[in-house]
């Protein structure tokens, strides 16, 4: 569910038009209805994006609740869903009864948590991994979103290229070779490079940064929202070490770029940091390429990248029914069905322990037990990075800073200085 920034779609919005549209709309206001649970006929709309694997589940729910009719609005990308959500939130009307959101833009919405109803209830207490729930809880303890899937990260690798470099190819041996720290991961890369295969170790500094920064609890902002990004020694250190590794190990292919996509067919790189949903991206881009496998380890401890939630906006006229539906959809049984249908990795404790999940394998990745590996990876996540109002913008600027160094337009110091200017101009 978390293929971020993936396909290019109709982003060709004319700015003036969209701006004036949003501005005109913001003049209108919506009456907020507080729905009551009755047996009356209820029409619920649910907005999702990409693939949540819910199509069959809606039919099942309608059968069990004959008074409920569900309309499904599906956006092609998370970008589209985000634009739609933001615009209608600003307008004060037009949102669906259940709106799916992505963890990347969750912090932006948490600032306006009063626009979403509090979903806390005894039924769902302890349903999810702690950090999944924490990320969707606002300062007043209101839970604004029910977790659907998560993106626990492992390391994907090309066993054929490993073999050519004289490295082990077996999953467990590779996990041992990569180790559990960034140093050992880079060291393995140096070993791989020394074998003279002429294939870079990882795709880009930016992708590696994503793994590193998600392990820093307060990379850019204090818990109270104070921006500390430019003074934080941890960030500077991570910046230096990622770029040091990149100078010898990186393919310098920005993630999601056309070159990056094409590189899967051209031995572009040997390893990649791999959240669960990335498996589908790799098997799609690398279709016909044999040798991909997945190792049950992640440098620097566990890491999570992406994942989604369901919210009920305050605008909804059927809040009670909408909450019931969201709760049902995110229950372990339903999420397991979604996993079986579209591979979205569940965030529910009970689902994570189920045999159905743990027994799942992936043919493209050399029949790796992906269910078990990703469950282990999910359990290893021990840091919930704080993501505040400016997280998205600051991290985006950092990605560009890393790219500037990789493409040679700036030295690491110059690019850092530019990043500091960028961050300061955000305020």
């Amino acid at each position: 569910v978390t293929v971020k920034r993936f396909p290019r779609t109709t982003l060709a919005v004319t700015v003036a038009g969209a701006a004036s549209f949003a501005l005109v709309l913001s003049g209108c206001s919506a009456d907020t209805g507080t729905g009551q649970s009755t047996d009356e006929n209820v029409k619920l709309t649910v907005a999702t994006f990409n693939e949540f694997g819910y199509d069959d589940l809606f039919a099942e729910y309608e059968e069990a609740n004959p008074n409920v009719t569900i309309t499904h609005k599906k956006a092609a990308t998370t970008n589209e869903a985000r634009d739609n959500l933001t615009t209608r939130l600003a307008a004060g009307s037009g949102l669906s009864d259940v709106e799916a959101i992505e963890v990347d833009w969750l912090p932006e919405l948490l600032q306006y948590s009063d626009q979403f109803i509090d979903l806390n209830s005894d039924d769902v207490d302890g349903r999810w991994l702690d950090w999944k729930t924490e990320a969707a809880t606002d300062a007043d303890g209101r839970l604004i979103a029910y977790g659907t899937d998560i993106g626990p990260e492992a390391v994907c690798y090309r066993s054929d290229l490993f073999a050519a470099a004289g490295l082990p190819t077996d999953r467990a041996e590779v996990a041992a070779l990569l180790g559990t720290s960034w140093e050992s991961y880079y060291a393995a890369g140096e070993k791989f490079a020394a074998a003279g295969t002429n294939v870079p170790w990882f795709d880009s500094a930016g992708a590696t940064w994503q793994g590193v920064v998600n392990q820093i609890p307060n990379a850019y902002e204090e818990d109270d929202g104070t921006v500390i990004a430019t003074e934080n020694p941890e960030v500077k250190e991570a910046y230096t070490s990622v770029l040091a590794a990149s100078s010898t190990l990186s393919a310098r292919l920005g993630q999601w770029s056309d070159d990056w996509t094409a590189s899967f067919q051209n031995n572009g790189f040997a390893t990649q940091l791999c959240p669960g949903w990335m498996l589908g991206v790799i098997s799609g881009n690398a279709s016909g390429v044999a040798g991909w496998d997945i190792a049950d380890t992640f440098p620097g401890g566990g890491g999570n990248w992406g994942g989604s939630y369901l919210t009920v906006p305050e605008q909804s006229k059927n809040q009670v029914e909408a909450q019931k539906l969201a709760s049902w959809l995110t229950a372990p049984e339903q999420q397991l069905k979604a996993f079986a249908s579209k591979g979205t990795f569940p965030s529910q404790l009970e689902a994570l322990e189920s045999d159905e999940l743990l027994g799942a394998t992936n043919e493209f990745f050399n029949n790796a037990p992906t269910g078990e590996i990703l469950a282990n990876r999910a359990a290893a996540v021990d840091v919930t990075p704080f993501k505040g109002e400016f997280y998205f913008a600051i991290n985006d600027a950092m990605q560009q800073a890393l790219t500037r160094v990789e493409d040679g337009t700036m030295t690491p110091d110059e690019s850092w200085a530019q990043w500091v200017t960028d961050v300061e101009s955000l305020g």
Binding site: R8, A12, A19, V24, A90, D258, Q399, Q400, R404
Partner: protein
């Protein structure tokens, strides 16, 4: 009594006549305005209101979701003008505009001149040059991105094939502008060519015949008859492509995945900058400030255009009169 009544009736009918006179005078005087008013009413709602509202937003702290904040006066303008990215975007906008508009108009003139010959299958060729215009800009960008890939793009593969250094389309400033201008040109050249062609066909054929009898070749007739007579149309095309060129968004937006105009903002145009401020940073106040600055720049250029146009149109008329005299 009777006279008094007659006077009364008379006065009434006079008043009546006066009123209907007045009405018909109003009818003549105001009806035309009434008939054209729908356009202006729609414009007031769709154009003027957003324009003024954007000005209102630009003097406030304004979050995309949070809405109106404190009044800050001209602070948004000052911040934006003191940030390097505004000037950088301005440079990119003009660079891409010039790189696209100038070759576009020259090539369009050439294509129109060729189409103006008595070709076989006229309609086929004419529809052919219009075809790129029908394709959505996003689709154009997708196709061209395969050409302009840094590593696996078609052009760079060819260049590396003959042993040269690949061009860094997404890294260096000028190559990125050239690539984007190519997409813009691909889309608009044929469209402009057809406008030129329509104007060329309106040129009286006697002029050419007379010139050819006098011994002028094709190039000479093109330079001395076609071009001067095309001047008003050329001015029109320059005006529309200026307005369009200063608002280039789609092609630059689609040039890479992040859509912000490159890691060093190598190809970030003003409209992209507005989008980044408004939707990326959700700072509607600053985005509106840039939108207004862009509006002022376009007005400034339109005024300059108008002044130049008036001069050129004036000289064209005079020259034509002189030439017409010479021909007769």
């Amino acid at each position: 009594m009777t006279t008094a009544a007659a006077v009364e009736v008379n006065a009434r009918s006079i008043r009546h006549i006066a009123l209907s006179h007045k009405l018909s005078r109003w009818d003549v005087r105001f009806s035309p305005y009434l008939y054209i008013s729908p356009f202006f009413l729609v414009f007031a709602v769709m154009g003027l209101f957003p324009l003024l509202y954007t000005a209102w937003v630009s003097v406030h702290d304004w979050n995309l979701i949070g809405g109106q904040g404190d009044f800050v006066g001209l602070e948004n303008f000052v911040t934006v003008l003191t940030q390097g990215y505004f000037w950088n975007a301005l440079r990119n906008t003009f660079s891409i505009f010039l790189l696209s508009s100038i070759p576009q108009i020259i090539v369009a003139l050439g294509i129109a001149a060729v189409l103006d010959f008595n070709l076989r299958g006229k309609t086929f060729w004419r529809m052919g040059v219009l075809l790129p215009y029908v394709v959505a800009p996003v689709a154009v960008a997708l196709i061209f991105n395969d050409l302009f890939g840094d590593k696996y793009g078609l052009i760079n593969s060819a260049i590396m094939g003959i042993g040269l250094e690949p061009i860094r389309w997404h890294v260096d400033v000028i190559p990125s502008h050239l690539a984007i201008a190519t997409m813009v040109n691909f889309r608009w050249t044929g469209y402009n060519a057809l406008i030129f062609l329509a104007a060329m066909q309106a040129v009286p054929r006697d002029y050419y015949e007379a010139a050819i009898i006098d011994g002028a070749n094709r190039w000479r007739t093109f330079r001395s008859i076609t071009l001067p007579l095309l001047r008003p149309i050329v001015i029109f095309v320059i005006l529309t492509s200026t307005i369009g060129g200063l608002q280039i968004f789609d092609e630059a937006r689609m040039f890479d995945q992040a859509g912000q105009g490159g890691a060093s903002r190598q190809w970030q145009t003003l409209t992209l900058y507005i989008y980044e401020l408004g939707w990326g940073q959700r700072n509607f106040g600053r985005a509106s400030a840039v939108a207004w600055l862009l509006f002022l720049i376009i007005i400034l250029i339109a005024v300059i255009n108008f002044l130049i146009t008036r001069r050129i149109a004036g000289t064209a008329d005079r020259k034509l009169r002189v030439r017409a005299k010479g021909i007769s």
